[in-house]
Symmetry: C2
Amino acid sequence: MQFFKVKTVEETYALIDEMIPSIQDVEVRSLEEALHYILAEPVAATENVPGFDRSTVDGYAVKAKDTYGSSESMPAFLTVIGEVKMGEGVRHHIGSSEAVYVPTGGMLPPDSDSVIMIEHCEDMDGLLNIYKQVAPGENIIRAGEDIRNGDLLLPEGTKLRPQELGALASLGVTHVRVYRKLKVGYLSSGDEIVPYQTKTLSTGQIRDVNYLAILGLASEWGVEVLYGGIVKDDISQFQQKARELYDQVDCLILSGGSSVGVKDYTIEVIEGLGEPGVFVHGISIKPGKPTILALADGKPVIGLPGHPASAMIIFKLFGERIVRKLQGEKIAKKPDRIFARMTKNIPSSPGRSDYIRVRLFELNGEWWAEPIIGKSGLITTLVKSDGIVEIASEKEGILQGENVPVIPSR
Amino acid sequence: MQFFKVKTVEETYALIDEMIPSIQDVEVRSLEEALHYILAEPVAATENVPGFDRSTVDGYAVKAKDTYGSSESMPAFLTVIGEVKMGEGVRHHIGSSEAVYVPTGGMLPPDSDSVIMIEHCEDMDGLLNIYKQVAPGENIIRAGEDIRNGDLLLPEGTKLRPQELGALASLGVTHVRVYRKLKVGYLSSGDEIVPYQTKTLSTGQIRDVNYLAILGLASEWGVEVLYGGIVKDDISQFQQKARELYDQVDCLILSGGSSVGVKDYTIEVIEGLGEPGVFVHGISIKPGKPTILALADGKPVIGLPGHPASAMIIFKLFGERIVRKLQGEKIAKKPDRIFARMTKNIPSSPGRSDYIRVRLFELNGEWWAEPIIGKSGLITTLVKSDGIVEIASEKEGILQGENVPVIPSR
């Protein structure tokens, strides 16, 4: 076994970005199924959107120059020669001093270049009084102004949000090639761990709480979780169960018990799964120092600390990054951190990143972060929290009122 | 039909909060299924968590007073009388000047009151050299310190995040009573609207893009969507289809076409569904002014504007609030707005709320919001955006550098 120096959070992120590959398995999904999937190929537009020049208001299509100089006191007068109906082609060419009624979204008649809103004119039995001038292009969207035929609409690696689905639908795209969803395996270990369904605990037993929290986080990221159960403090059983689960999943999570045996075994079990093995063994972070990250023949393996609160924070910080990299996400649009002002001074050791659970409240158009009191192992500190403040490793702490990054919980 | 004054955004939110009821249908879910469901009853703790005094470190359980005054140069000496194994009860009472090895999470032996970390002592064949003093309570968690038997853990109306599932599991709770998931119906209308799967559009036709975007947003909120298809510009067909869909869902969404007929019909169709009917008809907002909100015999009805981009923004702003209220959510923990500095001056009309699509970027520990160029009807403006900046109705605009609330997209 190699000797490992504890890594900083920043080094850990860099190693994840460097080490974790993306899966290459592609599948076809309908747009109805494709929410939050990652595009496996770029999508270029095959037509213009909109397909024709459209009005953006209810009004009259005109030649702009026929309205120049018109005002409330000096209206211009045009002749209404017809009406555009929604969903139909347009019959009327517009000649000089002519106008055609167009509803919002309606097709612009040929030779018109702008639309005057109904609020700024008056139709007196076919004679249109114009009380305001419009400029060419006013109140219209040109064909291809939203999406131009041939342009790249979405690059490979894009996460499909509702608006991306809408944009794809506007092109008549019905199916997309995406990376398949990931499957993550979760295995608990330790003689003291019992299924969370256990009604009455014997002395010294602990329910397998981490499983539920990890399952919840992974579900929020769209990842399926396969539960491998609980292994006792026995290395050959641990190795066998880990291998069985590893073979069925894209990423294996081991939640470490605290008994001396399991602690010693975990690294050995992980190293036995494949090459290159462990690349992070211990992170300079509070909570969650005894974290293990490995890559075994292309599949990430995560050894989480046993404390439920630490396990959740570590999985949120590093598990999410690993999952996003693994599922092929390249264009992350969402800011995953907000900023808030700290209500209190918080000391921290330089060289170590601290993650402080906080309650957030808004005051005068700013978020404020109030630290949750309680030891770091308590899961209720997470229940009471709205997010986690990050104190970067180079900092010696946070001063009251200082603006700090917060990872909000959903 | 009543006469309606256009409402401000703030008035609209207040009306939603006042008018929209919560569904009362309760179902039982296992913890594995319960993520993001809303608790339909309070959950009180039925046992202590942890169930016993535990060590938070690897070390030796001691009586703190036996370590007082000890240091590197003046160690105290204790006798190691045994070891605590994970998952087992403890046999050893600790007497004066005695110590017992305890792993992290292990049960504390009776009569010990603290744990000294292994880093601060040395076991020389059963003689423990103590190089640091500890205080009573140090490095331990007391029984019930996380959750105390009888205390209220989660109130009714709580959204179950991963940490709430973990806390419930720690009590051995396996099933929870929650409000059932909502079903929302979506019906498009307008002669120009065709199914989004339509390969080639005839002149003037528009694909039903809104359906995909609305389906995506509703899915993000955990709501099922039933698609009612597209009704042509015919009031009796519209009434019949709306009624059919209304009968199957908890909330009905009508996406209005722009033809004159449909515009006139929509309000009539909604008013015909039930009492008290329309309570918002027009919002002083850009984009999305022609929005209709109604309550028909206990079910909300939303009339969305026809422009895809407007429809999405309106559904995000008001649809999400309606859905959360309807599904019984009372304790919303997550901040749904972040704050960012605007890169440009943005004018706005007082009395109207403006929603500006922005790209977000981080600079020196702050988010900055760069407005997306493009007319408000363009769906690509949403594809390019990371969120929407809100300019409240009382403001006359935003100055460059001003801190503004942003609704981030997921």
